[in-house]
């Protein structure tokens, strides 16, 4: 057995070290702004969401009806130009009941937990899911395999975004 040092450094700090001013900090907040080109496939997807419809593309070779739609099938590696509307209903593939916000702050006592889920959309190929939110349901009633339906924003409020669907509710 050798007796060599294998671990060194990693000096832990406590909250007091910082609040007492023992440790100096340089603060900066990043300000990066982007406007991503949505491209052929996602642009159409968003345009259809604005109209209250979900659209997919189908691959000519493997016949998969794919969501979100894509310009090319990543498995067959050929372009896709077959657009197909799918339904706005689906099946819960998996879900969570989340008590923290995106920035890790805790959800307040008066707020409801977030209910993210992977939803396999009807009309798309089996297993073709999208991530979205469940609503109009008590968390303890959610089950994997349950049928759900999209609840859309009013037409004038839709902006061409995945949030044009407010959430999916039980069917």
């Amino acid at each position: 057995m050798q007796d060599k040092v294998k671990v060194a450094g990693g000096t832990g700090l406590s909250a007091e070290d910082i609040s007492s001013g023992k440790i100096f900090l340089t603060e900066d907040s990043l300000d990066c702004a982007y406007a991503w080109d949505t491209g052929v496939a996602i642009n159409r997807y968003l345009a259809e969401l604005k109209k209250g419809r979900i659209i997919a593309t189908q691959c000519k070779k493997c016949r998969r009806i794919m969501l979100p739609p894509r310009l090319f099938c990543e498995l067959c590696f050929i372009p896709c130009s077959d657009w197909q509307y799918v339904r706005d209903t689906g099946i819960v593939n998996t879900f969570s009941i989340c008590h923290v916000h995106w920035d890790a702050s805790r959800i307040g006592k008066d707020e409801k937990p977030h209910l993210p889920a992977v939803i396999e959309i009807d009309g798309a190929s089996p297993g073709m899911g999208i991530m979205h939110i469940l609503g109009e349901i008590e968390p303890e009633q959610i089950k994997i395999g349950m049928k759900v339906k999209a609840v859309w924003k009013a037409e004038e409020e839709r902006s061409g975004s995945i949030t044009d669907i407010i959430h999916f509710k039980p069917l």
Binding site: T26, D28, L30, D31, C32, A33, Y34, A35, W36, D37, T38, G39, V40, A41, I42, R70, L71, F72, E74, L75, F77
Partner: protein, 387 residues
């Protein structure tokens, strides 16, 4: 282990100051499709491994590696990202083939800088957060410091730097994928508004969107895939310290270029680059960089680059043509794909596919890339038509 490696496919797409018609993934798909077709229509399933060069903040995505596989046809395949220049990604691909574990590897890089609203601002986030960033200077002040010191140390002149701009932007007129081609005079450049003196606005490359993909193969596979392999004879990369104030040769030198080239020359068995290499594509992100890099790459001696430039040595008809493509100054700066853009021209020239700017009688070319302000990282590749 001593396997030889060749470039067997090249594809590119985009090449515009904006490219709003395609998402970056769709733009890469277009380049990839062309690349695989160029390599005899190889199906992606036959490719062993994939390497991409990317930076999170350039894409606005944390862990940009996530979105790499689909557009390369690389789902459930070995894929990795290098946060570096495209030539470093290429080096990674070369190493993979040389291990013997992989035989065919794709390497890609792209720029969608048009989707970013304040690129200068982003560059300042690459400076030291504690003792550089608080000055809140435009980050290109660093290029101004470097240029001033380079001119001071070597005796190169402001006009010689301007001559680089005139040459490269003129060369770009013959390159259909170049975006900043122009016929300028020395005065146009020297009298342009200053950016960070002595650097003027024309001394700096403009942004460009685009995607470039290379396919590499071992000698055995290369012979099956193409009848025009371009051999990677040498490759090297190096990084100096990120601290601006403690670089080995100060701000006037480019140690990273010297070390990267030494590694590549050693591997390629080159002792006199000026005589043994026919032409080069060398980073010219800023005008003075082309001269500084020429000296660091030992293509000419210290203080000689500017004079040789004035004698026409680095023009398309000169003894050692440099940046016939137009370089970054003439073609536009592709960020992480910068080195691949240099390499692309070397490959097109060696394959005699460079159209109106084709140079005659070529055998060996050099591509050199720098990572840009505020870094001190560079990568070099030596390519040849002879195995």
């Amino acid at each position: 282990m001593n396997r030889k490696v060749a470039i067997v496919g090249l594809g590119y797409a985009g090449f515009g100051t904006t490219t709003p018609d395609l998402s970056y993934r769709e733009m890469i798909f277009e380049a990839v499709t062309k690349c695989y077709e160029d390599a005899g229509g190889i199906p992606p399933q036959a490719i062993d491994s994939f390497v991409a060069a990317s930076e999170d903040f350039m894409e606005g995505i944390s862990i940009a590696d996530e979105y790499v596989p689909d557009q390369l046809g690389a789902v459930l395949k070995p894929v990795q990202s290098i946060t570096g220049d495209g030539l470093q990604a290429l080096a990674s691909a070369v190493m993979q083939i040389k291990t013997g574990q992989q035989s065919i590897v794709a390497a890609s890089a792209f720029s969608k800088v048009s989707n970013l609203s304040h690129h200068d601002h982003l560059v300042s986030y690459a400076t030291d957060p504690v003792y550089i960033r608080p000055f809140q200077e435009n980050p290109y002040f660093i290029a101004g410091l470097e240029m001033n010191r380079f001119l001071f140390e070597t005796g190169a002149t402001r006009e010689q730097c301007a001559e680089v701009v005139v040459k490269n932007r003129y060369n770009a007129l013959k390159n259909p994928s170049a975006h900043y081609g122009a016929k300028l005079t020395l005065e146009d450049v020297t009298e342009a508004p200053p950016l960070s003196e002595p650097l003027g606005i024309y001394d700096m490359s403009g942004h460009l969107d685009g995607s470039i993909v290379f396919l590499l193969a071992s000698e055995e596979r290369a012979r099956e895939l193409t009848d025009k392999p371009v051999w990677i004879k040498g490759i090297g990369w190096a990084t100096d310290t990120p601290n601006l104030d403690s670089r080995l040769e100060g701000l006037g030198g480019a140690v990273y270029a010297r070390l990267a080239a030494q590694q590549a020359y050693r591997m390629a068995g080159i002792s006199n680059p000026f005589n043994e290499i026919d032409f080069a594509e060398i980073d010219d992100t800023f005008s003075y960089k082309e001269l500084q890099h020429l000296e660091a790459l030992n293509i000419c001696g210290p203080g000689e680059a500017g004079k040789l430039l004035e004698l026409g040595c680095f023009g398309p008809d000169g003894d050692f043509p440099v940046n016939v493509s137009g370089g970054s100054l003439g073609a536009g700066y592709l960020h992480e794909a910068n080195g691949m853009q240099r390499l692309m021209e070397v490959v097109l020239q060696l394959r005699e596919e460079a159209g109106p700017r084709q140079l005659p009688h070529l055998e060996t070319g050099l591509a050199f890339a720098w990572r840009g302000v505020p870094t001190a990282t560079g990568a070099a590749a030596i390519l040849s038509t002879r195995v």
